[in-house]
């Protein structure tokens, strides 16, 4: 499909999301969205954070399972599971919607690899959406800690923190977690294992964040909606202007031709009129004889 049409489709989708969010009457609890690439361990993490250790609430599996944003309201906040980014366009659109409504973003990354170009772009997108407030709203989570071998995680983490700092200009709070270790710890009743999984520490941090932002939540959301509306309005103005320039470019050679034709035809009509006037004078003279 035409790039211009695809861009308008994206603007229309953003417009619909904005309309929906404008009219929603959701509970005033912070929304914490897990965001990241496919198979980063987002759903497993949210299951652990919400206490769904034995019976998962957010579907997990070997294949891509989350296709739509899923919400789960807890005591202090609402967890939002988003589809993994980077594979399917409609999944990505859902994930973007999750990002729009998120008050806190859990950016989940599964080492051993560093952040790839796509993830860096996602971080930049986050910065676009949340602006300066992102520093207080972003939590970087390194999942699959249990796969750490020979303490390689520490080095990877260091490199990733460096990437994020270069990309965003600040260092977000980071957590290393292992959902599997936490699950095993719960199953075996071993608190030490649970604590080592990093999940309780993260849960505590999220509780704290939620309490801190509760008072200003409504105002912050409203402010974000206004900002998004202004951004969308600007994007629409720019798109209209681009279309007008395109139309102008298309018309220009024809307008030039028409202008030249008018000039020539005016000269044709003018010399024809001059000759006609001469003929009329001659006729009048002839009639007077």
């Amino acid at each position: 499909m035409d790039q211009a049409v695809l861009y308008i489709d994206a603007l229309e989708a953003e417009c619909k999301r904005l309309q929906l969010q404008h009219t929603e009457t959701a509970s005033l609890k912070p929304r914490i969205a897990a965001w990241g690439l496919v198979k980063a361990g987002k759903s497993s993490l949210l299951n652990m954070l919400s206490g769904h250790v034995h019976q998962e609430y957010f579907a997990t599996g070997a294949v891509r399972t989350t296709r739509e944003n899923q919400h789960l309201e807890l005591e202090h906040y609402v967890l939002v599971d988003t589809p993994g980014l980077g594979i399917d366009q409609s999944d990505s659109a859902q994930a973007m919607e999750g990002l729009d409504i998120a008050d806190v973003v859990l950016f989940v990354h599964a080492p051993p690899g560093e952040l790839d170009e796509e993830q860096v772009n996602l971080l930049l997108k986050l910065r676009d959406v949340h602006g300066d407030a992102l520093e207080k709203r972003l939590v970087l989570v390194f999942s699959l800690l249990d796969l750490d071998q020979n303490d390689a995680m520490a080095q990877v983490r260091e490199r990733i923190e460096g990437q994020v700092l270069r990309c965003l200009g600040f260092q977000p709070t980071c957590f290393e977690v292992s959902s599997r270790r936490y699950q095993r710890g719960v199953e075996l009743g071993r608190e030490g294992m649970q604590a080592k999984s990093g999940i309780p520490r993260l849960a505590l941090h999220l509780d704290q964040m939620s309490k801190e932002m509760a008072a200003s939540l409504a105002a912050t959301r409203q402010q974000r909606l206004v900002q998004r509306r202004e951004d969308l309005s600007t994007a629409l103005d720019q798109a209209i202007e681009r279309e007008q320039v395109l139309a102008q470019t298309l018309c220009a050679p024809y307008a030039h031709t028409a202008g030249a034709f008018i000039e020539l035809m005016s000269s044709v009509q003018s010399s024809f009129s001059a000759k006609t006037a001469e003929i009329r004078t001659a006729r009048e003279k002839l009639n007077s004889l």
Partner: protein, 184 residues
């Protein structure tokens, strides 16, 4: 000769001379009158001939002017048609001078396929005024009436399609913009 005789003889001679003079003059006067009327006739004929010559001269001049005008029109129309990048068609010869004058002064807009395509294109150009578009279409109609209606070429059709699509996109964007503005 006695004086009275002399006086009498002189008187007779004088009378005789007068009578002679009168009798000599008589035929001369009648000839002058007939010569004057002939002159008038000649003058009249001369005037008539002169008028006829003038009339003929004017008729010739009018005919030449009309011929010149037609030739000039024909050649200038060729140039104008070439500007449009259209194949040049010959001017219809059957038009009378009056018909030509009416066509050239006509303000009617072209409704040919080319005219319709150009109307859409020029109206989409915000820098090209409506007055100029109207003028172009009426002048195009002059050309087409004197030659033949022009067909839209592939390039104009493509431009027309692209502009229609662009207009649809602009409309869609403006509708989106309106709905965003209503979000307060």
């Amino acid at each position: 000769m006695p004086l009275p005789w002399l006086i009498g003889a002189a008187a007779v001679a004088a009378v005789t001379a007068i009578v002679k003079a009168v009798s000599d003059d008589s035929p001369s006067s009648s000839s002058s009158s007939s010569s004057s009327s002939g002159e008038a006739e000649r003058r009249k004929q001369k005037l008539a001939a002169k008028r006829e010559r003038e009339q003929q001269g004017l008729k010739d001049r009018i005919s030449n002017l009309e011929k010149d005008r037609r030739e000039q029109l024909k050649s200038q129309l060729n140039g104008a048609a070439q500007t449009l990048g259209q194949p040049v068609k010959a001017m219809a010869p059957a038009k009378t001078a009056t018909q030509l004058e009416q066509v050239v002064a006509s303000q009617q807009s072209s409704d040919s396929a080319y005219g319709d395509a150009m109307k859409i294109i020029l109206r989409a150009d915000s820098a090209f005024s409506a007055v100029k578009t109207k003028r172009f279409l009426s002048q195009l109609n002059v050309l087409e009436t004197l030659t033949a209606p022009l067909a839209a070429q592939q390039t104009e059709q493509q431009a027309q399609t692209q502009l229609r699509e662009s207009a649809a996109r602009i409309k869609r964007l403006q509708q989106l913009k309106n709905s965003v503005e209503q979000l307060v």
